[in-house]
Structures are given as C-alpha cells and as structure tokens.
Amino acid sequence: MSGPYPADSVGLVQPFKVLIRHPLALDCGRTLPQHELMVETYGQLNAAHSNAILICHALSGDHHVAGFHEGDKKPGWWDNCVGPGKPIDTNRFFVVALNNLGGCRGSTGPNTINPETGKPWGPDFPLVTARDWVRSQALLADELGIPSWAAIIGGSLGGMQVMQWTIEFPERVRHACVIAAAPKISAQNIAFNEIARQAILSDPEFHGGHFYEQGVVPARGLKLARMLGHITYLSDEAMRAKFGRELKTAVPSYNFDVEFEVESYLRYQGQSFVDRFDANTYLIMTKALDYFDPAREYGNDLAAAFRRVSARFLVVAFSSDWRFSPQRSREIVKALVDAGRDVSYALIDSQLGHDDFLMPIPQYHRVLRGYLARVAQEVA
C-alpha cells in the first residue's frame, strides 16, 4: 500500500534503531556491554514528556505495531487498536514499540553479529528474561527522554513484561494494562513450549543453533513449533467454526497430504512463520515465558511483589482463552487487591481463544478506550 492510508491509521511509518551504550547485566549472569533496539513511535511526545505509552510485544511480535511500512499491504500487528482516535489514541499519546532484546526483527539477537566473534550470535546469545527486557526497555526510555510512562500495555507475554515493569521500576509506570496474561505460566504451558523447542532442537538443519553459517534454516522444526502454538491460541469452538471437518477434496484420498481445512491452515501458518522468524529467537522467547515468575523473589507471594507497586492496573481476560485463562488473570487481580492497589478487571466475552487479545472486540476496545481516556486526561 502506498497511501492514501485510512484516516484512523498512523500511515507510513519508519522503524529506527537505538543504540543503548549502557552495559546491561542480565539475569543469567552475563553482561551485554551495549545493544541495539529496533523501535517505532507514533504520535507526539508532549512538552512535559508525560504522555508516553510503551507497548510490549508477545512471543512472536515486534516493533511494527501500527501503520504501514513502505510498499506493505498489511499494517502492523495491533493496527486495529493503535492510531488516531483508536483506543490507544495517537492524537493524545506518544506510543513507543520495540523489538525486544533477543528478537529477530532488527534488535540485537541471535541473528545479529556478535562483535566479539564477528559471526552471528546464534545459540551463544544469552537466554534473556522478562526482567532483562524491562531493564533494556528502561534504558530505551532514558534514551528517548521518557522519565515515566503514562501507561505500559501488553498482551500475553507482553502483559507479563507490564507486570514486571511495575515491580522493577514502580516510580516509572503510572498505569499498567495487563491483557490475557498470567502471573506465571502453568506446567501445561511449559509443556507446550518444551515440545515447540524440541521440534526446533531436533531438526537436523538446526546445527546446534549455528545454521546461519550452513546457509540453511531449521524450517521443519520451526514450522512444527508454530503449528503447535496456533492450536493453543484458538479455542476448540473457534476451530470448529472456522474449519469444521471440511475436506479439501470431495472424498478422502487416504494419504498424508493436506486433506482437512485445519491442516491446510496450520501448514500455511507454520510456513509463513518460517519466512519471518528465527528459530533461536523462538527458543529464547519460550524460555523467557517459562522463567517468568515475579513472585519468586518475594517468597512466592505475588501480593508482596505488588506491594511495592504504585501503578494503577487494568486487567483484561477473554472467556474463550484457555492458554491464558481468565482464572489466571483473576490471580493477578487477587494479588493486587490483597496488596491494596488500584485495579479494574474486565472479562471479555469472546470466541476465538488467546488470539482474541488482538481482535477489535467492541467491549474490549470500549474498556481499553475508557481506561486510557482517563489516563489522557491525567497527563494533559
């Protein structure tokens, strides 16, 4: 698409790299002397630097949240929510989005060059945690001249970073929107992640993570990992509605080619993921999910962790989400109530499953819009 763009779109956007010269000590014990982050921003930072919103991305997300890159037909991954007049209103807020450290969309990560070796980092890239990301994002805020965020917003793994922010830098977050998240993931969730990782690790073309030098990608493993992920992002009901048991041919052909619509969908999703994502990054992201547990250093008491928080919270869950179920969001809410923090919780009636946090469901957007309108009043 090369303009004109829809009136409620941020239009043509240009990502840029920010070099963080400050050393970053990681949870794993290693230190990155410096790192680069790929960033996009929308809207204008006000004179008081008080209207900035940070958007944290989920497992496979990146900095391209809204608007269009030159020549692209499809907008960023949350374009339905971010733009002029949209719930995250770029007329009122300065919105910052980034590709997290360890990502594969331009930020320092396994597919970038390790300055010490002159080769891609590959499997030598440290296993980063949500807290490492938050610390890296805080350094980015310093670079951008943002002393504190009006709000930090994220869904799924993004919502976990939002919680981590409020605990790690209580004075730098005024509002926290935690969407379709959990205080930590379940054994079942870790199990899904483990299968995804094993699919990648056991692909002969993975080469212990050094596949870049071999000129190949572990496409089969990454594809399988993504296919599995997609099953968990959709509800049983949504799959039935979307695909049913429709055969692509009139009669069964009694072989292992694509026969059912759902097989075709999963293969397509898997393949297109291989074209845009890095296997080492997928491993890092799933590990970050598994490790996330902010209560651990507070005697496994999430309320104790939230007692140091000063942000106000909006927690949102989706009725059909079984990967990060509403019950898990209620655990977050309970801990916030026990800690005496301000929190509102909305349970959105939904059909699709975990993926619903990216959908423009009217009630969802109404709640988010209503919450952020008050934030905008506060910072205006």
Partner: protein, 207 residues
C-alpha cells in the same frame, strides 16, 4: 455529583461508613456509591459487577471495578480484608442469600445489606388476591423477575437471629426512600426497602 442527587438509600449507607475505610461494593452498578464515598469519605475499594455495560461505565469513570458473578462467592477475597462489604438490592436475586451474607461477613468487618421487604402491605394485598404481587418496588412479573429469594423483614431478622449475625443498625424506607412514622411503628408492614448494618456472630470466646 453532590449528596443531593445521590440515591437516598445510598446516602443513608454513607452515614454508616467511617471515613478512610476500605470498601467492597457487591453489584456496584455504575459505581455511584463508590464514586460518592471516594469523594466524601476518602474510602478506597472495589466494586464487583457482572454486567459488561456497567463494568465499562465504571472503568470510564475511573472506579475500580472487578467483573465477577456474585453467585460464585467471594472466594478471591481474604477474610476480614475490608472494613465494609456492601450489597444493595441484590440479595434477593442470589442463589443462596444466606451463604452470600456469610461471605460478606467473612470478608468484611461489617456488612451492609439492603433488600425489598416482601412483608409490605402491597405485597400482602397481591397475595391475598391470589396473585404474585407486582408493586412499585417489585415491578417485575413472576416469570421474568431476577428476584428468586424474596423475604420479609421478619424473615430476615429470624435468619440473623438463628445464625447469630448481629444487627447493629436497621433503617426502613418507603419507595421514595424516606422514613415515616408508620414505618417506625410497623416496619414489616410499611417498610418497602430494608437496610441493615451487620456484624458476624461473636467469635468463640477463649476459655
């Protein structure tokens, strides 16, 4: 919003609440009570509400609201974690009002409960004529009313007595939410809305 425009029964509730308290409002609707109490009594707290429209409305007003079904109880709330747990005009629509009050008094140091009095003379008139009553206070018909556990003031007080819940104060109002001499004389006959300030039974005393 000033006190003048606050629903009169809510204004009476405000008299019972000490400034600076922590409050849980069950079935908080648009958050009218919490918003008022936050302004006038510096209370903090949360509303529980099941209706998505009302939840959105609370969020828009900056009121802490937690979307929840009261029939699922207050499992997510610690014992004695609030000064007051308030439930206005919702008791009669619950599956088990008795268990609800038990939960209210577990979570709150004090409970405030209001409900329509089924002992009111208009209700009795309806029944005397052989019909489920439809009155200005209870204006739904038997088949579409959300009210499934109606009780009279006497019934309610009998339950409190049987279980040992302590009634610290009671206010009876007519449907314009005023107290008159007739109500004071015969509350179960003339009161249309009953309001109670409750406390849990005496804890077992140490030997």
């Amino acid at each position: 919003m000033s006190t003048a425009t606050l629903r009169p029964d809510l204004a009476l509730i405000c008299d019972w609440i000490k400034p600076g308290s922590r409050i849980l409002d069950l079935g908080c609707g648009d958050g009218e009570l919490l918003a008022h109490l936050a302004r006038t009594h510096q209370v903090t707290g949360y509303g529980l509400e099941i209706d998505p429209e009302k939840v959105a409305s609370c969020v828009e007003q900056g009121i802490n609201v937690i979307q929840a079904d009261l029939d699922e109880g207050l499992k997510g709330f610690e014992s004695q974690s609030f000064d007051y747990v308030v439930m206005t005009q919702a008791l009669q629509a619950l599956q088990r009002p008795d268990l609800a009050i038990e939960e209210i008094l577990r979570v709150g140091r004090f409970g405030i409960v209001t409900f329509p009095n089924f002992g009111h003379w208009r209700v009795r008139m309806g029944l005397a004529q052989g019909h489920m009553p439809v009155t200005p206070t209870l204006n739904e018909r038997w088949y579409d009313t959300p009210n499934i556990h109606l009780c009279s003031v006497d019934d309610f007080e009998r339950l409190c007595e049987d279980i040992g819940w302590r009634i610290l104060d009671r206010r009876m109002l007519n449907r314009s939410h005023r107290e008159g001499w007739r109500i004071r004389l015969r509350p179960n006959l003339f009161g249309e809305v009953a309001m109670y300030l409750l406390q849990d039974k005496e804890p077992a005393t140490d030997r």
